[in-house]
Subunit: 622 residues, 2 copies
């Protein structure tokens, strides 16, 4: 077992690595049989690829397996988790005995890899995302001036995912020659043979068409794999693909290349037969039960405050524009800040950072899935990524955001052009489900600034917070309503209008705050007093403080949002009030109902029911 | 102007088509200038491609532009909507005068195409989805035994979207030789030059690597385009790609190949200059204001009831398994039912249909984005598609589902393996945000059956309903609790336990209904009476009827769901009760909080707080 703190690459001999591959096979089968579930045959096809990568190619410190100096390994085919865990154990990250706790409630060795396990940088198991994470790790290493390499093991089934090809194009464009993809072409998917079966040439051609250095290899010929891994290290200016022909279940006679064995653990009898075919069994002691769970993920160092907002009250500024200004100011005080664009930097205003420092803004073109997972990889190298595109186009990357949360990644996403207030471009360009989408991400922070000052302050909060942070910005220019010194704690909200006689609380955010203020004036003229709340932070919510506000209005509240009714601000408020134990006399939810269409912003706010007029009439009917 | 009801392909002469291209340019610029916004330069690059396709290649009836016999055109680069509208007008679908209403609130000619416009089969504008829709139209034509062809116009910017390459692989696999893709390589994205600029060879190589017949062409050489379109028709067994080198803004001197002109309308003065360069202006009369809005989309004919459920009370059946049975029974009575799989048919049980009739189940491999948009295309050919994968993997296709709703498409999606009840596979495989995601789709129906009988009945409802229908199924086997004759109206719920003394309503669905029933027994033993509600339909909700139930318990309710707290069952119930005007004394929401991990199903239900024990203790504390 390799125990030197920083093992040099290429030191293990062929026979030693062959024995590692044999042990990876046995341990993968033993672990899944002990668990009673899992994917042993998907581990068997990859044993030589993993052994050669870990014990021949990689430079890797088992006591610090996620260090900036060390090479990284991403198991994109996450269902082969047991072979990764076995490799980490054989490399000395944790004892081999731990492998037999696979999939148990008390174990960090879950059914699919997560960063709870030392040596894992991102959760995988939703297929086709690992190459993007790997590209982010490779780009992050370059940004941090590390000469570390990144290896990504993909399955052939997942090559059908478009995300893989977004990553491939990105890696070639950015000339990530420190990135090597290994494709385990075992020809068998979950439910039938894959689209291309064992035709490794198709994959090679696809990688070459993307501008990669690509070669095919016999994935069970260890010496050949080692040679091709050596050649990959010599590549200059191009990422490298190693397309390996393998057999699922190899070399076990009753498993190899057999359909119907996906995701099935062997019985004890089958396990014994399989081990007998491989030679002597591994002698694995009972696990002492100590956890090896990784407690913290790379976090950016604390940084000094950025330059304060510098607006005049009433100045007309779009929050999307203030986001660009905020990014530029943050980058000036935090060297870890980087931004990713999906060819909309002139709309999201990420270009403000790019103009100030082109080296901090990375163009990902129109491929939202990839830029989100690239951000996960960059964050795992200790950077603080901000990804911005239209709010509606982040729906394209919902699975990648979901996996980023399971990855415990700290990435920031900005969605511009929210709601019907964008106007003429029509519903395909309107973010109307983004709040629902991001609120349902565990541990996420959901920010929705109403003016430029709030945007700058909240973008700073995002850069400081852990987990997934979402910032919702809007297209129209709106007046600045907060002083430059105003603070925006998270969680928190702003009470913009109030009196002891308030009969109802009107709760909005973004453009609807301005509608609520107009409604306030109209209602006041009619003798009806309302309090107006700017709920700039939708998750978390200070439930007790918000509850107090609505208690003060006798449990009467109106929520108003430029979003569909489901999962957005209104439901967030109701859930918060319920949690706060506030008895609700009457709550009315104003939101966009039905698919909107093109028109002028004001026309649409009114036609789709979220303008001041609708707030007034709703309150009058309560 | 072509006015014959069914125009034969290839009848217009070169000069006639050249004049069409000139008119498309002028009309695109006039319309965007009249609107004051839009993407004229993206229209100009495509004028010859669109003119040659519409007026040379396509067989098309302007009085019935979405007929099963006619060829179809999908504008994947949806921001070039004006050139599509101009082509439809020049073909006689509506008068040219209508073009000048572009982007107005009262016009069906929105900023990006939607099926409100006759001749449009799917909304576009979220890039990279059109080729999947086109593949669905082409496959749908084949299923319906039509020899119609499908043309898809893509921009080069959107070729970065992985979805395009999922579609390309799918189309080649299914040998869709009735599908032609035209790529408008103008080399300019929104914010800068594209990744490959004018390198048309890269795109050709990528298509060839996917198994397409591909050639490059000068996209402003009309005769050459017509020839290559003719050759495409002769292809056998392969889809065809026409990669055209164009210039954005061509041929206007101050626009062509200029950065900084994306999404900008010309001023009136610029418009005059541009038209002068093109020769005489088009004489467009004032629009009389008549709407040409398409009112209905293709709907399947009504069909006889499928075979009734045939279970025994208490029989252990997973809802995912009943879904497969339901599909098979529905297919037997409705020839339009088709299913799409993402290589998980043995997990979702879509394989039950495939085993009964292999011609009805289409393998899309692991490419969720593509199968959703293929379904939209198949629905536009009058079929009734069911797409099934793990619930969590539908997050991969959220943007495609969003666009399907804007497309007014009637497609059905089944998400299996919801929640922590899946057990050992861990969080990457658990659907815990799917209810939030689908509830926020406008007009969607969200169904969550608790047993096998409910699953069969609700799957039938999905097949009969318009719009997006989502069916959430679960992994574990659970006892049948409904009789085979039970009906499940939509909207609706089932009252499983009740008495006049009920102190609280417990509202769950799926696995939590069983936990609620256990909790009921425990509470009853302690003298506390609760009513138990199975909310099998989360959207729409019969708010009045549900409100009555909670009024009867004095405004006290507990919701419990195998889902994150945000946007799921709990918030749906609160919003419904608020809408029903029920004063809420006390509502408690039980849901999965934080990222779960691997473990046994029962262990996880308890550890993540949604088991009977938690329901009991929550109610005891109320």
């Amino acid at each position: 077992m390799t125990t030197s703190p920083q093992r040099a690459a290429g030191t293990a001999a062929l026979e030693e690595i062959r024995e590692k591959a044999r042990r990876l096979r046995i341990e993968s089968m033993m672990a899944t049989t002990a668990a009673g579930s899992g994917h042993p045959t998907s581990c068997l096809s990859a044993a030589e690829l993993v052994a050669a990568t870990f014990f021949h190619a990689m430079k890797f410190d088992p006591t610090d397996p996620n260090s900036i100096e060390g090479d990284r390994f991403v198991l994109s085919k996450g269902h082969a988790a047991p072979v990764l865990y076995a490799a980490l154990a054989e490399a000395g990250v944790f004892p081999v005995s731990r492998l037999l706790t696979l999939r148990q409630f008390s174990s960090e060795l879950e059914g699919h890899p997560t960063p709870r396990v030392p040596g894992v940088d991102a959760a995988t198991g939703s297929l086709g995302q690992g190459l993007s994470v790997g590209a982010g790790l490779a780009l992050g290493a370059r940004v941090r001036k590390s000469n570390a390499r990144v290896y990504v093991l993909l399955g052939d089934g997942e090559m059908a995912e478009g995300n893989v090809w977004e990553a491939a194009a990105f890696a070639a464009h950015w000339k990530l020659d420190n990135l090597t993809a290994l494709v385990d072409v075992n020809g068998l998917g979950q439910s039938e043979r894959t689209m291309y079966r064992h035709d490794t040439e198709v994959y090679r051609r696809k990688f070459e068409a993307q501008g990669w250095q690509a070669e095919t290899v016999d994935g069970h010929d260890l010496a050949a794999i080692m040679e091709v891994l050596d050649r990959a290290k010599g590549a200059s200016g191009m990422p490298q693909a190693i397309v390996a022909r393998t057999e699922k279940g190899f070399p076990i006679s009753f498993l190899r290349d057999k359909d119907g064995w996906h995701g099935k653990a062997l019985s004890k009898e089958q396990l014994e037969m399989a081990i007998a075919e491989l030679g002597a069994a591994a002698d694995i002691p009972a696990d002492p039960g100590r956890s090896y769970e990784r407690k913290t993920l790379p976090k950016p160092a604390d940084f000094p405050p950025p330059a304060a907002p510098a607006y005049q009250m009433g100045q007309m500024v779009a929050t999307r524009e203030a986001y660009g200004t905020a990014l530029k100011k943050l980058a000036a005080v935090n060297a870890g800040i980087v931004a990713l664009d999906g060819d909309v930097k002139n709309s999201t205003f990420a270009e403000v950072l790019g103009e100030a420092d082109p080296s901090r803004l990375f163009q990902g073109y129109i491929a939202e899935q990839n830029i989100v997972s690239v951000a996960v990889g960059m964050a795992a190298q200790g950077l603080v990524p901000f990804v911005a595109t239209f709010a509606c186009f982040l729906t394209r990357a919902y699975d990648q955001v979901r996996m980023a949360a399971i990855s415990r990644s700290s990435i920031n996403l900005c969605g511009s052009h929210c709601g019907v207030s964008i106007g003429e471009d029509g519903p395909s360009q309107m973010g109307l489900e983004d709040l629902a989408m991001f609120r349902a991400i565990p541990g996420a922070t959901v920010l929705y600034p109403s003016d430029a000052v709030a945007t700058e302050r909240l973008t700073e909060s995002a850069a400081r917070r852990e987990g997934i942070c979402y910032i919702r910005t809007a297209r129209p220019k709106l007046p600045v309503i907060y002083g430059n010194e105003e603070k925006f704690p998270v969680p928190g909200f702003k009470l913009l209008r109030q009196s002891p006689q308030d009969r109802v609380a009107v709760i909005g955010a973004g453009v609807t705050v301005y509608e609520a203020l107009k409604a306030y004036d109209e209602l006041k003229a009619k003798g009806v007093l309302a309090r107006v709340i700017d709920l700039y932070c939708l998750k978390p919510i200070d439930t007790a403080a918000l509850g107090d506000q609505v208690r003060a209005t006798g449990g009467r509240a109106v929520t108003v949002e430029d979003h569909y009714p489901e999962g957005g601000l209104g439901e967030a408020v109701m859930a918060a009030l319920a949690a706060a134990g506030v008895p609700l006399t009457s709550v009315r939810q104003i939101a966009v109902r039905g698919v909107p269409h093109s028109g002028k912003p004001d026309e649409l706010l009114d036609a789709f029911g979220i303008s001041a007029r609708h707030i007034v009439s709703t309150i009058e009917k309560m």
